[in-house]
Symmetry: C2
DNA sequence: TTGAAAGCGCTAACAT
DNA sequence: ATGTTAGCGCTTTCAA
């Protein structure tokens, strides 16, 4: 493996000069610089980023902690979208990404700070952890630059990217209200997800503004999981046949509700309207296709990486990025039948 | 940032002893070892893997070159599955993953070898490149341990993981033949994909074995792309109304063919049977659901990482892993109508 | 414009 | 069982 030492020897200069020449410093004569570059090429030289990072104390690396990089998340392409977005920005910026595997219990023994310090990442992006995750405390306490996705937390070194979940949920429920629904159920995720808290607020606000009373019995938690949502919806719809529409905090759960409705012999959308959230690919392909609140996961990832870089470079500016949503009206919603 | 030097000072021993103690060498007394570990914990020490990697000349890192980590690959979750599989294995093995962003043209200026050498990865996994990609030549010429996905190439340091695409394609076509189809079209990917070459062989073998003549005019290339496949299928089905079934080298393309059939007013499966490949999530959700040859992308990723580790550790054994497929019969295939 | 020397944090011969 | 020393490949004062 060629080193700058080899180049120095071949060029008859010192390693210092080689280093400077290769890094484009001005204080090296054009002639020697050219010579150095030529020899480096001849010798097929590649810089050793480990050595460089060690001495420069920065690695040009982002650490990535994503929870959804596993088989069970294949159906909702959220993690993938975020990953792709991060990848895009990072490709433009000269950084590389280290994927921390936090899936196994073994790895979970390492703290967030350890993970970052060991690999000497310049910053981290965290997605998919619950608000009660111990990592979060570390994120705040350490001064490692970090961008959280969907967790509202800022310090001088920490920012976050999220979607306007309140407004998104509101749009969904308002869509139902405008169609004439008043008895609207809600299958939320779980209380430890910030997005769930927000979407609940949006749900409640929409109802309040339409002076529709909120009925706690019509609200359930589906753990962001298709089967759990199906189970919860089954009970909800059986216990409360008055419900004419259900808003779900994720499309995956909406799929579960769809199954529940089918089991109960309820026609969607004629007897029950369903609105999802996320606009996953499946939403437009299932039958009936799913009305949903679209969020741009690719953009979320892209903005997260961008924000991290700006924090790293001490740029002034907000540490918060909030993205919009879009209501996609499809076949799963319809005005309620006249009674 | 705490270093072993700090620990050495605090413990009143040399850095060597600290290093040995922390790494569990036997030639250090239990008493001092305990002391060292205790102090390390007190000082909140994290090893600097950069320094360690530099001196040990290995980084406990796999480099990942995947082509499909972008927005346009969201519909087929192949890249995601592979990524998740790799992630699983890697999480169990103590390695970490560096995602090389090869999306941008800028990055593309760096050669494969440069990418790997700069980051000093111990090995690489490459997915989604074409057989005419210049990277491939480098993979062979360099002695960096590498596992290719779906590209049959072995050297002492290179292995590959693939699916039995010949048999897979054969199963698909045989399924159609068994149903009574004899005029079977084929929408392949493109000639620079190994899997396409294999699937073509499988298609031809199945026909030959059934003594059905091969008609080159019934074979087209859809570039593994939904819209391209739709276009190609449109022409194919118009020019050759005798065709009663189409085998597609990917589900995404099968979706395109489905659209083409719809445009031509052909009912699937009554007037046209369609078989796809991959068994992506969408396959079972579209209407009509898609008969498909399932391959396990998660397993591919897992096996790739596993194989790479075994190559790294100089384990004897084959450098080739070939996985099976499974025919999933759904609604898009049916015996041809009697004429 | 160039070079000598120090040092980033760690491991590993080679002593003792 | 422990310490001394050298060195991994690089950048960066400081001096010339």
């Amino acid at each position: 493996m060629t080193t700058i030492k080899d180049i120095a020897k071949a060029a008859g200069v010192s390693v210092t000069t080689v280093s400077r020449g290769l890094n484009g410093y001005s204080d090296v004569s054009e002639k020697t610089r050219e010579k150095i570059v030529r020899i480096a090429k001849e010798l097929n030289y590649s810089p050793n980023t480990l050595a460089r990072s060690l001495v420069m104390n920065k690695s040009k690396t982002f650490g990535l902690l994503v929870s959804g990089l596993n088989q069970s998340s294949a159906k909702d392409n959220i993690t993938f979208g975020i990953l792709a977005g991060i990848n895009k920005f990072v490709g433009e910026s000269g950084y590389d990404i280290v994927l921390f595997s936090t899936t196994s219990t073994k790895q979970r023994e390492k703290t967030y700070t350890q993970l970052c310090k060991e690999r000497r990442v310049d910053g981290a992006i965290i997605q998919g952890i619950r608000t009660d995750d111990p990592y979060l405390k570390e994120v705040v306490e350490s001064d490692i630059p970090c961008v959280l996705i969907d967790i509202p937390l800022t310090t001088p070194s920490v920012g976050y990217v999220t979607t306007d979940n309140i407004l998104g949920a509101k749009k969904a429920v308002q869509h139902l209200i405008h169609m004439g629904h008043t008895r609207i159920g809600f299958i939320n995720g779980h209380g430890f997800a910030f997005v769930s808290q927000q979407r609940l607020i949006g749900y409640e606000e929409a109802l309040k503004e339409a002076t529709i009373p909120i009925n706690q019995e019509w609200i359930g938690n589906g753990e962001f999981c298709e089967v759990a949502a199906e189970r919860v919806a089954l009970k909800l719809l059986e216990d409360h046949p008055e419900i004419t529409a259900v808003f779900c905090a994720s499309d995956l759960m909406a799929l579960g509700v769809l199954k529940a409705a089918r089991k109960l012999g309820m026609d969607v959308p004629n007897e029950l309207s369903i609105v999802g959230f996320d606009d996953i690919i499946l939403a437009s392909y299932v039958t009936p296709s799913l009305t949903s609140i679209a969020q741009d996961t690719f953009q979320i990832g892209y903005e997260a990486a961008k924000l991290l870089l700006s924090i790293l470079e001490n740029e002034a500016g907000s540490h918060v990025v909030s993205l919009g949503t879009e209501l996609k009206v499809r076949e799963s919603t319809k005005p309620p039948r006249q009674q």
